[in-house]
Subunit: 295 residues, 2 copies
């Protein structure tokens, strides 16, 4: 595995690899890698000839009161995990090379970003779209691989790729979980042992709502109530949002129709740590119990 | 010459040409080609193996009260001029394929866009940056060629390329002029015979200011006054702006230093037609008359 820090050196390498006919996959990360990230790297290994993992804690996607400064960093560990998972190039730039002196350009995405993470974290997705566009132009991938855990982010990136004609495929890989169901996250390191135990309620709440859908529940407000009620069983956890939405548009109809894809999304504060999780569910054509079906 | 309308078909062609090692130049235009554009196409022909001319009247760079609807269009003439000048691919998309249903993404550039054209035409440069980023991703050029006549636009595009790491060279080619000095522009077709005669004052004003610089004038306000006084000799022409600025940053120091590059820029309304022109001048190390030099 080769470590590259300079954008132009990365570009020269990928341009020459592309000219040799090699297929390139990029896995953009903020480092502090875990099994969620390494599953994405292994996915890249399956799809492409060359796998680039990027490590960059992107300042423009953090709000003024967020955890940019204290976001966990461990280059030696990231190096080892990235290499073991099959990375060819570890792109590890400094902030000054990505946001050069006098930088003045931002990508702004509306619509899909108005709600949920976009509403709770003003400017977050503009920062995400901007850094991802830079990484795409630096690494020139055929495949860009993202985790489903940041579900709304995957929609934002698909919109970016479509609107700007980036010539690549966006691949979304499933969330990796601890044995009790907690979604892996670099931010889990912030949790106290007690908070860690309680954090499993996100998965449990998603699971309850998913079971309800399989049994025929298709009313959005009822699904939201199932999520809220489950999380409220742990009073220390404060809900930011917990809701069901159309998985493609994030629209919120009263009732979801058979065959529609629904995204169940949760964001909470567990102590001072903000955690998110989600589940993608398809409304059954033939639910197990036709309770509320086209009432 | 081959005409292509679909973005993905254009991409497939350039990707395959790049894989053959061909160098690609793109000349983005809004059509209604004139000798200014064809000089850019010939420049592309010199630099690259494959020349792509794009024709697209970009709605997002026009303000609500501007001339989008009546902007002149003539595909048959553009086809002939582009082919004669040495175009390999004429990319001629429809609006719906460039701004697809549900598009929600905009590039926003600050700083360099705050003044002059950016101030007079709110949102103009965001529209320019957005369409140019799309064209770059669709045509994947090694060289992108623009005319100096839209001087501030060339700075915006250089900032876009730098901030987003587009792997290409921006080439700026000189303004082409009529025999009396009027800069070629698709909008000149709007001018009445009388307005056409009077329009030469832009070139004359730039010429006067340039002569003053060669003779040692380096004070910005005096240069601005020379431009204003010259244009005011034609009372029917209304000045939007006429001024000297640092050619790289558009900053406006009181005095320009020897060796500095100065851009003299003019925008006027000639009847209802908005015209712009500019001249790039270097402050002499040894002016012909040391009149105001380091007073």
């Amino acid at each position: 595995m080769r470590v590259i820090s300079k954008p132009n050196e990365m570009q020269t390498n990928v341009e020459s690899l592309r000219n040799e006919g090699k297929k390139i996959a990029v896995i953009p990360t903020m480092g502090y890698l875990h099994e969620g990230h390494t599953s994405l790297i292994r996915k890249g290994r399956e799809l492409a000839d060359i796998v680039i993992t990027t490590l960059f804690v992107n300042p423009t996607q953090f709000g003024p009161n967020e955890d940019f400064e204290k976001y966990p960093r461990d280059f030696a560990r990231d190096f080892q995990l990235a290499e073991e998972a099959g990375t060819d190039f570890l792109f590890n730039p400094v902030t000054e090379d990505i946001y050069q002196d006098g930088y003045n350009t931002l990508i702004s995405i509306s619509g899909i970003t108005d709600k949920f993470e976009g509403a709770s974290r003003q400017g977050h997705f503009d920062g995400v779209a901007t850094i991802v566009a830079k990484i795409f132009n630096i690494t020139k991938p055929h495949y860009a691989i993202f985790g489903q855990k940041d579900y709304q982010q995957t929609l934002v990136i698909k919109q970016l790729v479509r609107d700007f004609f980036f010539d690549l495929s966006v691949v979304v890989a499933p969330t990796v979980r601890e044995s009790d169901g907690l979604a892996l996250s670099s931010r889990n390191v912030y949790l106290s042992p007690d908070e860690r135990t309680k954090a499993v309620i996100l998965f449990k709440a998603l699971d309850e709502a998913e079971i309800a859908i399989q049994k025929g529940e298709n009313r959005r407000k009822i699904l939201n109530a199932i999520l809220h009620n489950a999380i409220r069983s742990i009073p220390e956890i404060k809900i930011d949002y917990a809701c069901a939405a159309d998985a493609d548009t994030l629209e919120e109809p009263d009732v979801f129709l058979p065959g529609e894809h629904v995204i169940l999304m949760i964001a909470v504060f567990n102590g001072i740590t903000r955690l998110i999780d989600n589940a993608l569910v398809t409304i059954p054509q033939d639910p197990q119990v036709k309770k509320h079906y086209f009432v």
